[in-house]
Symmetry: C2
Subunit: 563 residues, 2 copies
C-alpha cells in the first residue's frame, strides 16, 4: 500500500479530552475516529490489525474444535424475558420495535439466542459437547463511554458458548479454553493475568478474567507472591475481629457538623476508626431499599453485598431517597430507627464491638456508645461484604498486592442457568430421557484487545506493534524521491516486498520531509522501518520499531529475514 | 472436521411454507436456521461458505486499491436528516434511542456515515481518489421477508464508497468496479448479467445491477440478441402511436358492472384494447394523490412514473382513498372530473387517439368516445411511463427477451448527491478552493450471493458447491468403520488431508448406514466425495458432486489433484 493512497493520513492534534494513550495514538496515527460517544469507525489501518487479531482468535478456537457461526443482531425480546434478563443483564439493553410492533433487543450477549437455536434441534448425548462461537457486534448502552476503544457502546466480541452433558465434561472444555486464551493473548504479545472472578450465575470457581496489567484498566485485582490472583470482587483475605473487655457506656448523640468519613470522624470523636460504622443505602433492581453497615476502616464490596442480598443488581440510593429514608442529609445514616421496609445487612466486622459509633439519622449528628442487644437488637446474621485492600493478608498468608488492569477476555460457567429457564433446552441422554445441558461461555473483545496492545506497547513517539498483529510488516520510507533513479529503485523494492508476500506500507510522498516521514513511521508503529535514499546505496537501512540501532542489509537478506 | 462433531446434522424435513430451493436445501443440510422472519443464523457450514465468499470479494477489492474499514451499526439519525433520507431511503429505516434520548437509525446503507467520516479530515485533491469499503450488517424493515436468504431484514453487505475530484475520475473507478464485480462472481461460479438500471439519484447511465438469471429472482430485465441488457425500470423500446381518421362520436357512459381489466372491457365494449385506458391512483411520499393514465394494452412502470412526478417514493392509493377521490369502487377510475388536488399524469400512448374509453369515476360505469380537447382539456404534456414487455422491439431493432434474476450486486454513481447536501463534504482543489467530491457506490449482498449459488447449482439430491466457495473440499465417507483396521485407515486418510491443507468433512459415524451417508454427502454438496471402505482396498473411491462416474485413486494422487 502506498502511503499517498492511504486513508486517512496522520495528524498532530490529539482528540479533545483524551486521557488514554491508546486513544491519542490511534487517533493521531489515523486508526480510528469516533462517530458518536462510544461508537467508533475502525479505519483501514485499524482494520488490518483487527483482522490479524481475529485470525489469531479464529485459528486457536478452530484448533480446539469450536465452530464459528453467527446469530442475528436483533434478538427477540421474548427470549430475554424467558430468562428474566431484560432487567438483570448487568448492562443496559437497547430495545427496538419493527414495523409490526415486534420487539427486539440489540444483542448484548447471546446466551438466549444460542439456546434458542440449539433447542430447534433434537440433540442427543452423542452430539455433545460442542462449542459454538461468533464474531459479532455487541451493544451496551453504557452510562459513560470513555474516549477510545477501552469502554465503548458498540463493539465486536468473539463470544463462544459450550454445551455439555455434565459439569465434569464442561470442566474439560473450561481448561481447554483457559489454555487457548493464554495462547491467543501470548501470540498477540500480551501478558495476561488469569484472575479468579465473580460468577454471578452460579458462584463457584469457574470464572476467570484475562487481565493485562495497566493503569488504564478498570479491573482491580490482587496477587500474592505465591501465585494467588483474584479480582477484588472475590479476593479472600484474613479478617481479624476486634474484641475488648470494655464496659458498655451510655449511648448519646454528638453534634459533629459536616464531619463525614470514617477517619475524620474517628479523629473528631477521639475513638479508634474501628469503632466507627459506615452505613450505605442501596436500591435493588426490585426497588427494595437496603442499608449495609460495615466497620469504618473497611469498604463495601458491592458484588459480595449483592450476593448477600440475593438481588440481581444494585445501585447507590439517590440523595432524595437517603433523605426520605433517614430523615437526614447524606453522610449521617445509621441503622438505628430505620423504617421497617428497609432491609439491614451488617458485615461481620461490626460484630464483637463495644461502644461503637454510627450515624444518628439526623443531620450533623452521630450516635456513640452504641451496642447490639441494648440500642439495637442483636442481628440474627452477620455477612461478609468487605472489600480487600492492598496489604491485607491473603489466603496463602502473604500480603495481597493490589493491581489494576484491562480485562481483555473472560471465561465462565453458565451451568444450568439458561437451560433450566428456557423450555426445551435439553438433550436426550443414553436412556432416552431429556436432560438440561450444562453450559459455559467465553468472550474476547477485539477492539479492546487492539487498544490494550497499544496501551502496553508504545513510546513517546507512537505505537510499537508486535509483528503478529501489525498492520504492515514493513514501513518502507522512500527519501530523495525527486531523483528518478532513487524513485524507481524504491518502487522496485516496494514491488519485491509485495511479491514476497510481505505487507508493506510505502511512504512514496514527494512533498514530505525525511523528518516527517520518520515521525509518521514511529507514530504508526509498523515493526520494521526500511529506508531507501541517496545515502543507502545498494543496501537498505533497517530499523526495528522501538529499538535505536539501524543496520544495513541488501534486499534479499531482508526478505529472507522477514519471511 | 468430523461429522459426528458438526453442529447441526442434516434433517429430512423442509421448512414450513418454503418455496425456494435454496431455502429448503440450506435448511435440510444444516446451513441456516431462522430466528424471526427474515433474520437468520448462519450455522458452521454456512459460515465456511460465507468466509470463502468474503475472501474472494476482499481479495478482488484489495487488488483494486480499495481499503477496508468499518462504521458503527448505529448511525446518528441527524445524518439521515441532513440528506433528507429518513423518509426517502427507499426502504424502511428502524430507529432507536439510547438512554440519553439520542436518536439513531440502524444502518441500511452508509453513504452519510462515510461522508461524515471523510469530512472530519481535510482532504486535498492529492488524497483523491479513494474507495472505502466494509463488510457490515444492514437492516431493512421489509414489509414481507421471503423464507430463506434471498430477501431478509438483516444481512451482511459489502458496501464500498468512492470519492473523486470529478465525474471523469469516477468513471475510471466505475469501470474498474464493473470489471472487479465480474471477476468476483465468475470466481464463485456465477454467470451474471450486467443490467443497466435506474439510478434514482441523478439519472444517467452509471448504474448497473449484477443479476444471476433465476426464476427465484425478483429483478426483471430484458436482453436482445445484440447484447442489449436493461432492467425493466429503464428498458427502452420502440413505441408506435395509434392514429385514425375517425370522427369524434358523442361521449356516453356505459353500464358495465364488474367489467374490470382492459382486455375484458375491450371485448365487452367491442372496441380495440388500444382504445381503453387504465387509470391508477398513487400516493407520493409527500401525501400527494396522483392519477396516472395509460393506454389499456400497456402497464405502468412505476419507476419511470416516479421520475415523471419528481417524487421520492410512491405507493398505490388505498381502496378508501380511491373511493373518496373518484366517488367509485376500485376499477372505475378515470381522469374525468377528478378533484382539483389530484395531479394527473398521462402517458404518451394516450395521445393521438379518438373516441377512447376511460373509467367514469362511477361504480360499474365506463365512459366511451372520450376525446382530448372536447371532454378533457388537451394535456400540456404527455409522459412516458410505459413498462417494457417480452417481444417489444428494443433500441437495436430486435425483440426484447424478458428475463428474471437475482440481483447479487450493484454499482452506481452518487455524483454530488451527498456531498452537496452535507456541509463540509469537500476537498481542497489545486487552487486551494474547497469543492464537493464526486462519489460512487458499490454493493454486494453476501448471504444472498450464497443462496443464489445454491439456487443455480443444485440437483434433486442437494447442493452442488463450486470448489471456490465450498465449505469443505472433500467429503470423506468412512464405511465399515466397525472394522478397526478400516477405521484406523480412514482416520489416517483424514489426517493426511488435513495435513495437506485440504479441508475435509469426515463422516466418522458408526451408527449411520452407507445410504444415509451418501445422501448426506449429496445434500451438503461438497465437491469431492471420497469413500474408504472394506471394498476400496488400497485405493480411494472418488466421485465429483454432480457427476455420476466414480474413479479409484491412491491418496497421493488425489492429494496432488486437489492441491
Amino acid at each position: 500500500m502506498k502511503y499517498s493512497k492511504l486513508f486517512p493520513k496522520t495528524i498532530k492534534q490529539t482528540p479533545q479530552g483524551a486521557s488514554l494513550i491508546s486513544h491519542k495514538l490511534l487517533y493521531q496515527a489515523g486508526y480510528i475516529r469516533e462517530s458518536t460517544a462510544g461508537r467508533y469507525y475502525l479505519l483501514p489501518l485499524a482494520m488490518r490489525v483487527f483482522h490479524k487479531i481475529q485470525r489469531i482468535i479464529k485459528e486457536e478456537m478452530d484448533a480446539t474444535g469450536a465452530q464459528e457461526m453467527i446469530t442475528p443482531v436483533l434478538h427477540p425480546k421474548s427470549l430475554w424475558e424467558e430468562t428474566n434478563r431484560t432487567s438483570s443483564a448487568g448492562f443496559e439493553l437497547m430495545s427496538i420495535k419493527d414495523r409490526s410492533e415486534f420487539e427486539f433487543v440489540l444483542g448484548g450477549t447471546a446466551e438466549e439466542m444460542l439456546v434458542d437455536l440449539v433447542r430447534k434441534f433434537q440433540i442427543s448425548y452423542k452430539d455433545l459437547p460442542f462449542n459454538l462461537y461468533q464474531f459479532s457486534t455487541k451493544f451496551r448502552d453504557e452510562l459513560r463511554a470513555r474516549g477510545g476503544l477501552l469502554r465503548v457502546r458498540e463493539f465486536v466480541m468473539k463470544d463462544a458458548y459450550s454445551f455439555h452433558i455434565s459439569e465434569e465434561d464442561f470442566k474439560i472444555e473450561y481448561q481447554k479454553m483457559m489454555d487457548t486464551y493464554s495462547r491467543i493473548f501470548e501470540r498477540m504479545g500480551l501478558k495476561t493475568y488469569i484472575v479468579e472472578s465473580d460468577n454471578g450465575y452460579i458462584g463457584g470457581e469457574y470464572c476467570h478474567e484475562f487481565v493485562v496489567e495497566s493503569d488504564a484498566g478498570e479491573s482491580r485485582f490482587f496477587i500474592d507472591e505465591k501465585g494467588y490472583i483474584a479480582h477484588e470482587d472475590v479476593a479472600k483475605f484474613i479478617f481479624e475481629s476486634i474484641t475488648t473487655d470494655e464496659k458498655m457506656k451510655p449511648a448519646e448523640e454528638v453534634l459533629g457538623k459536616g464531619i463525614i468519613g470514617a477517619s475524620e470522624l474517628a479523629k473528631f470523636l477521639n475513638i479508634p476508626v474501628e469503632k466507627t460504622t459506615k452505613t450505605i443505602l442501596f436500591e435493588t433492581n426490585k426497588g427494595d431499599i437496603v442499608a449495609a453497615a460495615i466497620r469504618g476502616d473497611f469498604d463495601i464490596n458491592e458484588v459480595k453485598l449483592l450476593h448477600a442480598i440475593g438481588a440481581d443488581s444494585l445501585k447507590l440510593a439517590s440523595e432524595e431517597t437517603v433523605k426520605e429514608i433517614t430523615g437526614a442529609e447524606v453522610g449521617y445514616a445509621g441503622i438505628l430507627n430505620l423504617p421497617k421496609e428497609v432491609k439491614v445487612f451488617i458485615d461481620e466486622s461490626c460484630a464483637s464491638r463495644t461502644n461503637f459509633e454510627m450515624g444518628a439519622n439526623k443531620t450533623n449528628y452521630h450516635s456513640i456508645n452504641i451496642n447490639f442487644g441494648r440500642d439495637l437488637p442483636y442481628p440474627k446474621q452477620f455477612y461478609d461484604f468487605k472489600l480487600a485492600k492492598d496489604g491485607f493478608i491473603g489466603p496463602n498468608g502473604l500480603p495481597l498486592i493490589a493491581k489494576k488492569g484491562i480485562e481483555v477476555g473472560n471465561i465462565f460457567q453458565l451451568g444450568f442457568h439458561y437451560s433450566s429457564k428456557m423450555k426445551g433446552a435439553e438433550f436426550i441422554d443414553e436412556k432416552g430421557k431429556p436432560q438440561p445441558y450444562y453450559m459455559g461461555c467465553y468472550g474476547i473483545g477485539l477492539a479492546r484487545t487492539l487498544a490494550t496492545i497499544v496501551e502496553v506497547s508504545n513510546d513517546e513517539k507512537g505505537i510499537i506493534w508486535p509483528v503478529s498483529v501489525a498492520p504492515f510488516q514493513v514501513h518502507l520510507v522512500g527519501l530523495d524521491l525527486e531523483n528518478a533513479e532513487i524513485k524507481s529503485k524504491a518502487e522496485e523494492i516496494y514491488k519485491h516486498f509485495e511479491g514476497a508476500g510481505i505487507a508493506v506500507l510505502y511512504d512514496d510522498r514527494t512533498d514530505a520531509r525525511a523528518g516527517e516521514k520518520f515521525a509518521d513511521a514511529d507514530l504508526i508503529g509498523i515493526p520494521y522501518r526500511v529506508v531507501v535514499s541517496r545515502k543507502t546505496g545498494d543496501k537498505l537501512e533497517v530499523k526495528k520499531r522501538g529499538e535505536s540501532e539501524t543496520s544495513f542489509m541488501d534486499l534479499t537478506q531482508l526478505i529472507e529475514k522477514l519471511s
